[in-house]
Each structure stands twice: as structure tokens, then as C-alpha cells.
Symmetry: C2
Amino acid sequence: MTNPLVRKLSAFAPLSDADTDRLVQLSKHIKRFDADKDIIRENNNPSNVHLVMSGLACRYKTTADGNRQIFAYMVPGDFCDLHVALLTRMDHSIATLAPSDIVDIPHTTILDLTDSYPAIAKALLWATLVDGAILREWLTNMGQRPADARIAHLFCELYVRMETVGLAERDSFELPLTQIELADTMGLSTVHANRSLKALREAGLVRIEGKKIVIPDVERLKAYADFDPIYLHRRQDLSAR
Amino acid sequence: MTNPLVRKLSAFAPLSDADTDRLVQLSKHIKRFDADKDIIRENNNPSNVHLVMSGLACRYKTTADGNRQIFAYMVPGDFCDLHVALLTRMDHSIATLAPSDIVDIPHTTILDLTDSYPAIAKALLWATLVDGAILREWLTNMGQRPADARIAHLFCELYVRMETVGLAERDSFELPLTQIELADTMGLSTVHANRSLKALREAGLVRIEGKKIVIPDVERLKAYADFDPIYLHRRQDLSAR
DNA sequence: CGGTGACTTGAGCATCGTCAACATTCGTGG
DNA sequence: CCACGAATGTTGACGATGCTCAAGTCACCG
């Protein structure tokens, strides 16, 4: 049960052994990407679906004046473009942020899968809907929270998502991001991102050890960031509230 | 062809007469809502799908410290919650911004529709994907553009969307928003939203006549806002670029 | 070791928020 | 139809947050 896709989809509903086996089969043909490589570029019309198995990828867009906005991270178990089957043209690009293993899956395989495995079909739809929910939460984050809480909120989300796929320690997880990339995610300048990180560090809310984010007290960070995991729609969080 | 849903979906692909007839039938049971009424509240699990036929609605969320973030507008022809069939709990609320006609459609009707009318099924999926694309563009808008350009970008988008459903004049459209609501959408204070609007007015980019937004020179406003309609994925915009 | 990219810090400035006062519009009841 | 009150819009003054420019420092890699 170390397959991140299986772990992720299990957060929605239990999967049968047959479902699990079928999902594991998907990740036969893994392609290795270096860091900072485009997987799909704007205006492309990709014929395959891409699944992150290890590493980290992101969606981004560049504005006319050359600024970049990153608006999604794809951690292991996440699909990059499950949703673009119909839109004839990509309106954004997808790139790796770290060396990553990416699986290429033909559209036909996905169609086949959703036809023959209803539980998987539901789970994939769920994953797509959660992607939308994350986007809405990010917009709230950008619009309503000051820089340091905004970063704290991102860390909380990534901690939970990494934990879901078994990639978090009790109080830390790997986040191979530069501060430039963090700034482009949060809509901040690199200088201000740096200072906000410093503030979080000095408040004892996070420690940064190389590429690892250490969160000494997860509950305290969640409170600081006004983080509520409900928007991730995991089974285990549904009881609360 | 005055039905906004038909007009909207036609922006994706031509619809047959049978498809059109079926869509028009949907809007039999119209419910009238006053302005500022919740259609669906957070934590609800709505059993019906809601479709805006006239007026204006929005999605929003409230943070712990009482701030509101609006992260989507639903204009006539837009569905409110096509996507929530699977997520057992709403992670945000939906409310009217103006007096609106809302159609209640049972989930079963939607399922029936997508089973028997493949062209409609595709078009509805397209509409859902476009909603996601709009969200990504909004995030870019929030993160990368200053207040006045941000507002200008919103006006451009709404102009195009209203035009798509036949609700825009050559140089204007109705936008029944208060500046408070605009500020909550853009992540600004009301005071600053007011001043940014004033800047746009004094630059001759927009005029505000009551609840009507007048855009004397649409191309100039688009240039100012760095607006490119490609993310709306309408047929008519696909040729460019 | 030398160089390149990432990180850090300071200083000054621009953007945006808060508080407060006032003006205008709109709906409602008399 | 008018008068009133409440909500919305407008403006000024000031402070906070965040950006730009610039000068380093640090870590990593050839």
C-alpha cells in the first residue's frame, strides 16, 4: 500500500483489491524528469494524462509583464491534466519543481478504467472536484490573509496532502521549493516571502532544515493559518464540525 | 434562442434542435430569489442542481476573522453546483447578489440528460472545466495585478461572459454589485476598491452609470487589464494566437 | 577554488488598509 | 409624495504591509 495514487484515492472511499490492483498497474511506464522541466506547455493539446509518482510539479501561467503565478502543486498521487480531455488547448503550463517520476497514461486507458471500474471512476471524479476546492481555498488565502499566514496555510495544506500519501513524518515533510517559487505561488516578492518565512521561523511555528519543512506544533500552525482541512474532503476529516 | 443556457453551451459546440429543446425544457420550474439570499449554505448537502436564469449569484467563503472572499460569479446560463454531486458537504456558500431567477434541477434529471444526450453531456463537462479555468485566471489576477488592473480584468471577463449569453450591449453591461461586494471579490478594502474604480473612471477606461458598467473602448480596457479571453475556451476565440 | 544561484538584510518608496467624517442614494412608512 | 433612516459611496489623513533596489552572505557544484 505504498502506491501514492492508491493511498490518495483511499482517502475518498475504500477500494477493493481489484481496484487497487488495476491502479497499481497504471504506473508501469514511469518517465524520469529533472527539476524545472515543462511537462506540458501552454497552447499544447496533450494526448496523454500525466500522473506524479514522486517529486513535485506545479501549474503556472505567465502574465504579459513576465510575472509568474503558480496556482497548483501536484504531489505524488496527483494527476496533472485529468481534466483537459475536452478543452482543446491548455491555458496554462505544467512543470516539475523537483526531479520527479511521471507516468504517462493514454486517454483511452482512462476511459477504459472509468467504464470498467465504477469505484475508480467515482474516485477520479472526486479527485478532480477536490482540485477545484483547493483552488477556491487558495483564492481565499490570497485575498484575505497576510503574507505569513498565507505561507503557513500553504504549509498546512501540503503537510496534510503529503501525509495522505504517506510522505510526511510526524512533524515534517520534504518541500523542494526555492523561495522564488514560493513567492510566485503566494503573489509576493522574493524579499517579502523571505521576511515572512523569517517571521514564521522566529515565532517558532516552522523550522526549515534544507528542503524539509519542520512543524514543531501542527495544531498551533493550523490555528495561526486559520486552516481547516474540510476543503480537502478526506473521509477522516468529515466527522468534525 | 434567448435561453442563456443554450447560448452559453453553444459557445462550446453547436447544438442540435433536439439538444436545444431538451435544454429549454429544464427551465420550467423557476424560483424567484431576492438579492442577498443564500441559495446553498456551507455544510449543506444539496439534492438539487441550481441554474441561474436571470440576475447574478456568487460563491463565497468566510474566514475566521469574519472576512468574506467571493470567488465566483454565476451569470445567467451558469450552474451553481453541477460539481458537488460527489462531495458530501459544501465547502462554501452560494448566494444571490441581485434578484434572480433560479431553476432547481434534480440530480436524476442531470444524470438522465447526460445519458441520453451526449452532446449536452460534453457541453456540461466543458462548462465545469471552464469554471476551473476561470478560477485559475482569478488566482493569477489576485496574485499578479495591482488593484485597478485587477478590477479591469474582472470587468473584461464579465463583459465577455454576459455578451456570450446575449446580455451585453455593444459597450456596456449590467453589473448589480455594491463596492463592498467588489472589494470582497478582489481582496481589497472597500475604500481602496472605491479609489481604484475612481482611477479607472478618470483614465476614461470605464464609466459607471447606476448599476451599468460602460466600457467606451473595450480593446483599450483589455490591454490595460492584460486580458486574454482564451481561458474562457469559447469557440470564437480559438482561432487567434 | 571560483562561480553561480539562492538566501538574507537594509533603506526608501508605493500600494493598500484603517479610521473617521461626510455625501449620496434608495427604500420605507407616514 | 415627502421625510426619514439606513446602506452605499466618497474623501482625507495616517499607518501598515509589501515592493524595489542594492549590497552583501551562504551553499553547492564544477
